[in-house]
Amino acid sequence: MNITYNLPAIGTQLVLGAGVILVLLADLLTGKKNRDVAYQTTLTVLVLAGIICVMKWGSAGAGFGGQVFGDGFASFFNLAFLAIAFLVVFNSPNYLKRNEIDHGEYYMLILIAVLGMTFMSSAGDLLIFFLGLETMSISLYVLAGFHKSRARSNESSLKYLLLGAFFTGFLLYGIALIYGQVGSTNLADITSYLAGSANPLGGYMGVGLALLLVGLLFKMAVVPFHFWSPDVYDGAPTPVTAFMSAAPKAAAFAAALRIFYDPAISLGLPWDKTLWIAAALTITLGNFAALAQSSIKRMLAYSSITHAGYLMIGLAAGNELGASGMLYYLFTYGFMNVGAFTIAWLVNRRGEGNYLLSDFAQLGSRNPVMALLMSIFMLSLTGIPPLAGFFGKLYVFSAGVKAGLIWLVVIAVLNSVVSVFYYLRVMVIMYMREEEGLKDLEKAPTVAITAILCGLVILLLGLFPGPLLDLARESVLSLL
């Protein structure tokens, strides 16, 4: 038994794993009415993991016999997960206290979810990928139902759990069939089997890969596996929604790229067409459903379905530009969503379950800074230059054109035009609508800092997209 362990390959995960135990103990010892220690420990752990991630950027290589990779691709996504988690945790106490759900488990479950995601992005083996996915999902099921005295939160958790378990069945069945054909769950073995076989999709390989893809599409909330996401996003506590709409989606796309992205092998896979249709349906359906929403939370939920559709174009294109565009897109999309959701719950005045767009009325005069930031997030989600959202779309769309998916890109561009309507509606309400009985916003420094940070990141990455795109390209190259 000769196996090189290479612990640096899972440096980030080790810090997070130790952090989980630390937060658990810290909260046990200091808990009672005071969650500050758990909160601060969590933030420290996330920062430490981020430092390790940056220090070991792409240099750690394969570990544990090729089961995990500490390559640039993993580092890129891990940094994105950690940044999103940091921003969400940073402004959470305010929300948790307001809703009287200030419990230490919250921080621990977020850390465990991030740990699961980091294993998904660095998986070199379907076994690790599956365990990472389940670790992430189980934490999210609980987090979605964290507000347990609210029926909507329970509904959200239960729907997510039941459907998630159902699709996990498909995913696991797929992995089992692939293992049956290849005799290994290692991605490198699977790739060399596919490259070396005369009929790569014969036997049960084709069905196995298709089922695996179905499981992933569910986590990405791509049509026709999207039906859970509006209810789950709407019912979950809002910081959790912000987290769920950004990080797990990125993790699912990271895993999809790890498993399916390999331009060297042209298999003529039947799902080139399948992905095409799924992407077109996802973009269109998400968009038109978002038009009809009066709740900002549901609107953003449907908009996140649409964005998953845009990202699918990069996956369907299957070229290097598409993959690196997706990395750029996912990284910046996280900041837009966290920012938008954060402001949404600060502005909300009817309590959970009643997030109305009309709460944003007169925000332009009540709190010009927040209104400006919300405008930045909305414009960036629309894809207006020079914000980061524009470049994400640009790269993914041009990858689609390069791969000959002209009609898909045309559909996507037309839908982007439609999406201007519901994103700009928020701005119209903020600056032009008059409404009675509106109070000033509550003073919440952590929330303001989060929103400002998100806004700055989007603005800077939009004005100077070069460095991040170069980094994304390097990361994708490390995948091969």
Partner: protein, 170 residues
């Protein structure tokens, strides 16, 4: 003669597994379903033995039959009026649902009969020792990730099952 006997026992387990699984799904009373599940799980353990997976069969008996199922049956016993409770089984769009289900079943059955299965030509030998070694060498990372997963499930279950918010103050 011995072959016929083995075949007979195999099919006995198959009938036991599938037959009681059908009872689990279609029974109107939850207590019947719970007990039928017992036989399904035992049947699956028997099938594992036929696959020479001795450790898997033993853990199936210990964990599912001995642990989880006992919990379920006690849960049913201790819940008041559970015997008279009928499970609502008014499925919507029952016939529409038949379409994708039948399609998926057709694909799986096609795969089952068309693929050539890699049969291992080895004699059955105890697997427990090798499994133990592999879990702490080659599969160390999956083993540890699985334990974090269980920790998350444990904490999450406690968080959700506590009766009231006020009781949360330790």
């Amino acid at each position: 003669m011995i072959d016929i006997l083995i075949q007979a026992i195999f099919w006995l387990f198959v009938v036991l597994t599938v037959g009681s699984a059908i009872v689990v799904v279609f029974s109107k009373r939850i207590i019947y379903s719970a007990f039928a599940l017992l036989f399904t799980l035992i049947g699956v353990a028997g099938l594992y033995v036929f696959l020479a997976a001795d450790f898997l069969a033993a853990s199936q008996m210990l964990i599912y039959v001995g642990g989880i199922l006992t919990l379920i049956i006690f849960g049913v016993f201790l819940t008041a009026k559970i015997y008279g409770m009928t499970i609502p089984d008014q499925a919507h769009q029952r016939y529409l649902a038949l379409l994708p289900v039948a399609g998926f079943a057709a694909v799986l059955i096609h795969v089952l009969f068309s693929a050539d299965w890699n049969l291992l030509q080895s004699t059955a030998e105890p697997t427990t020792e090798n499994l133990g070694k592999l879990l702490l060498t080659t599969y160390l990372v999956p083993f540890e990730v699985a334990s974090v997963l269980l920790l998350a499930a444990l904490i999450g279950a406690m968080r959700i099952s506590r009766p009231r918010e006020e009781d949360d103050d330790r």
